[in-house]
Subunit: 461 residues, 3 copies
């Protein structure tokens, strides 16, 4: 107890040097690396006018018009969706939406580089040529780190979050390369590479950073009435735009069309079953805002991989049906259990919304892929959907299913191992993280107007 007391006193949220230093140094590094590597691709370059003449294209053939509406929706999910979902804490709304903004803005730059080196590097020129699809993928890559932030919310400093993001993006780019390129899996909406990876990454970090005296911040945890309404803004923008998320980088035409339908349907079922389970677990049948804010989204997570497959509308409905149940169960039963038994402090419950539904989504897609057939997809449709060309032309669908399952395991392993290592780095006493009795409190990192306190008194008493 004494030692812990001592530890508290050493902790110090002074970040006036570390935060500007990290921001400036890394941002300058981005400028230099962008200068060396990043260029417009032929669809965004002013040479397009000549390019389209040479290839007999018209402006509408520019990939921009196939993907831009989805891109903007994904962008809203990243900044308003994830950002406002994390405003639910009564005294940490600034940190929820504000740090989300910071790390997403930094992360997408680093993601353009990391994903560029792995996927868009031209071997001849040594340059990365970017277009709209790269922007979408950068946003996706950032999503993994924002999911991890959900497990850490209120317990880390912004400097630590920058570190989480730097390593998170790096790990993401590597696991994505292994899963999509080496294993040749499909994962358009990222059940594996985004949600499963991001969820376990955050959980592993949180586990390493376990705070035995976090109960000292209990007066700060929890929501108030209006903070729960703010969080619903996040929930709804995530929920509404998830069809865009899962279809943003699928094939033109039927691929995007089908991914939208499947995601739309799965999400609808999740809402209904999440409400049912939430009501069942309360003595008078009352609903819990935590479940409505989170478990309603589980169907979208789990459809991330199979949204572009011919899972059929009722297949999507069944996935959403069970995900709403499993996720709500998670919030009611599993999170408290993990907190007690595994010493896992998961602020937003990313275990129930991302890690488990992402993992299950990966395995569901493995099964759906294994049973895919020419008769259901058409011969050319099967080739298109699973990109069975070149060296993969002879891969059987059951083999593909096996690789999809293996990909899910890779994502989980990267999350858990990478997260454990990053957690250890974050234990260094240089990052300005808050003391155990100072968590979930914006006063640590934000100038909060004087008039805040009295409201707080009114709210807390």
């Amino acid at each position: 107890e004494k030692r812990s007391d001592h530890q508290q006193k050493v902790k110090n949220t002074y970040i006036r040097i570390s935060l500007p230093a990290v921001c400036f140094v890394w941002q300058i590094a981005m400028v230099l690396l962008f200068g060396i590597f990043i260029r417009y691709n032929e669809e965004a370059d002013a040479h397009w006018v000549e390019h389209k003449q040479q290839h007999n294209l018209t402006d509408i053939d520019n990939d921009f018009y196939f993907r831009y509406p989805s891109f903007q929706d994904v962008h809203v999910m990243i900044f308003v969706g994830f950002g406002f979902l994390m405003t639910f804490l009564k005294r940490y709304s600034f940190g929820g939406v504000g740090f989300n903004f910071l790390i997403a803005a930094f992360g997408l730059q680093w993601a353009l580089l990391m994903q560029g080196w792995f996927h868009s590097l031209d071997q001849d020129t040594g340059k990365i040529y970017i277009g709209i699809e790269n922007l979408i993928n950068a946003d996706f890559c950032v999503a993994g780190c924002l999911i991890a932030y959900g497990a850490l919310l209120g317990k880390v400093s912004p400097v630590q979050l920058m570190v989480v993001t730097l390593f998170g993006i790096t790990l993401y780019a590597v696991e994505e390369y292994i899963i999509l390129n080496l294993l040749h899996c499909r994962d358009a909406g990222g059940s594996m590479v985004i949600h499963c990876f991001g969820g376990y990454y955050g959980l592993a970090i949180s586990w390493v950073l376990y705070r035995p005296n976090l109960h000292q911040s209990k007066h700060n945890e929890g929501s108030v009435y209006h903070s729960d309404v703010f969080a619903m803004i996040g929930t709804l923008f995530l929920w509404m735009f998830w069809p865009s998320f899962n279809s943003a980088i699928t094939n033109h035409g039927d691929g995007q069309h089908r991914a939208v339908i499947n995601t739309y349907i799965a999400l609808a079922a999740s809402v209904v079953t999440a409400v049912a389970i939430s009501s069942m677990f309360h003595s008078k049948g009352k609903l819990d805002m935590v479940h409505i804010q989170n478990a309603t989204l589980a169907g979208g997570v789990a459809m991330g991989t199979s949204a572009e497959f011919m899972i059929s509308p009722y297949g999507a409905l069944i996935v959403g049906f069970f995900m709403g149940i499993i996720s709500t169960f998670g919030y009611v039963i599993v999170t408290p259990f993990l907190a007690k038994s595994l010493k896992l402090q998961d602020t937003c419950g990313v275990h129930n919304l991302h890690a488990v539904p992402g993992m299950l989504g990966g395995f569901i897609a493995a099964i759906v892929a294994a049973f895919a057939s020419d008769s259901v997809y058409s011969h050319q449709g099967l080739i298109n959907t699973f990109d069975l060309t070149g060296e993969y032309a002879s891969r059987t669908m059951s083999t593909q299913g096996g690789y999809q399952a293996a990909g899910t395991c890779v994502a989980m392993a990267f999350g858990l191992i990478g997260g454990a290592i990053v957690g250890l780095i974050l234990k260094l006493p240089i990052w300005g993280d808050p003391a155990d009795d100072n968590c979930f409190d914006d006063e640590a990192y934000w100038e909060v107007r004087a008039c805040f306190r009295p409201l707080d008194v009114a709210l807390a008493l």
Copy 2:
């Protein structure tokens, strides 16, 4: 008075059995019916790659790219627009946005089936083939029920709302079939089938469910400062995306283009005249948030049918001009009058925002249609706009105008009669609705954090 007291005591908001039961049974029914009936249409099916080759199409010809941006905007209107518009009550924001979420998510599934049977059923295979247009129509269908919810807000249980939705979707599909198919009316943005029907449906239910002692919940009714700001989120997303709503399923090309322009213009005028009337009715010229939140939208409602017609920009401006006036008058004069004289308790004033502007929009469109001519539309343009093909090729425009007017009456009749019947069903004492002194209070159906009460005390005193 004693009887009423007695009645109060029997009322009981215990829904731990009924709500999960309704959710599970109906959701399982959805799974089964989707399994039997619903399939992807040729634009969303993996066979698309073969289909487009056979029909000499390219990916951009997929209807997805003509409608997807509008679909996502409509989706935002349904969940954030309607949802946040109903957060204005100081103690019922969870119920406003949360129950809206639940019934919309359930309703869109049932709508895919009901509308599918009437409009997209393939007689040969017995299957419903869905694509992006079906998703938009399902959202539209749900909008009718959400409008009805506006009249009932705070006075019904979520189980009752599920019943309202089940019957509402069913009634909608039937009246829509009569109006669009049998009468061959045009109603792209649904002044008739959505707003007029939904408004009168909700009013009729509310009238049957009249609560003589609702004044006992007066301390819960009304807004607070921040709940009014939350409601503005709903208002603005409805207002901004209404051009997408009215153009989402109009003809490709000029149809969508013109519907956007007309709606954009009409809505702008509504704002200006709503402000003017709101100011005129206050002794010092102050504005009332209720009018700004609602009457500003009336131009969009009234343009629902004629948005795709050649009503001309100034025609749209005139419609918006008068709708802003009529709707604000409604809030100031008519709603209080209806409450006293007709015992009609209309929480959100859907009478002024949906029922009347929807009805007027139907009749305005009838007049605009009756005066449509080859010279204004071009010969082919007239045929395209009113779909005067096949058996309707010889229909004159004045006849078309007559049918449009008849369609409006059908929508109103379905709303009033259907609502009265559903209201009677909801009077059964099994639905867990709140007592008269327990309305407009989230505590009835939501786990509200302990710290809510003190804030509430601070607010109410």
Copy 3:
């Protein structure tokens, strides 16, 4: 002091006659002018079906499909972005979002006319033919006035705001004509015509309307916890959709594609450097919400002109990098200095977010244009990007750069001189503006529910 006391007493926020009168008279004028001048263009007219056959077009060639998604994003920026950004004041959120709504809705009508007369008037028919691009431009035009509102927030009456808008739109249309047509500058995202003009327009008005006793309203100024979260809704929607803003009216194909990439990148860098500077200026390194809400957007403002140029991704990153720094410095150092030395009361700090970054964006684009070359753009690409056709075919790039710089000066001059004149008009004692001790208070112009005061007491004590 006595004179000032006297002045206070004469002031009177009674607007029951003036506000409805202005709204009705101007709205009726709009109806008449629309009736005389405004018609659908050939892409929105029902004749499109014949037009496309004659010109061998298909529906997807309709400009609607190239611009509609961007239009809706811009629309969100105007109404939710600007509107919610101005809800940050603890007692002026209604006025922030509500008056923004009013003047934008009026302004876009007047803008359709003013811009139409200058740009879309058919000399033969005397009509203005409008389509989706006109709607975007009307929203742009309105943005200039909303920026000006930011400097005046809380200190003017809605009647004054209508006057600001009427003259602002008029001035905008003239300076835009000079800059885009006479000087033949490029300014797709409006660093010059929107931000530089709007910023200086608002500052000049505010300077003329200087209130020496504004400190008497100090108790009303400033934010509370939740009003700062509301403002983040505005910030994020502006930030996320800025790529759509800067690309909405650029060339089809590479023009739109490139403008999106440049804006996305510049904005990301602004966030990181704004955070760094904000932290550096606080004794413990804490962040200030004012900077996060505003300075993070400066990169988007400054990329307004050069977004469509081949500034290259690292060029965009550098612009964003410095704009985040300059804008945050502005909030910390320059705004307080201007308030003291220049008697410039700039409520939202539009000097730091719009005026200076807009001006710098104009000059940056002048430099980028001056160095543009065939090798970087391709010959045809250069002609396309700078529209060097007809009489401008022989203009050299360094000449173009000079004109771009001149255009920036024109925008600034129009803002400063026009604003000074409008400010003098607003000093007439007929507009119902609030007294110095009554600013920043919604009670002056809004019916605020009784329960507001106690919360306020709780907040203020």
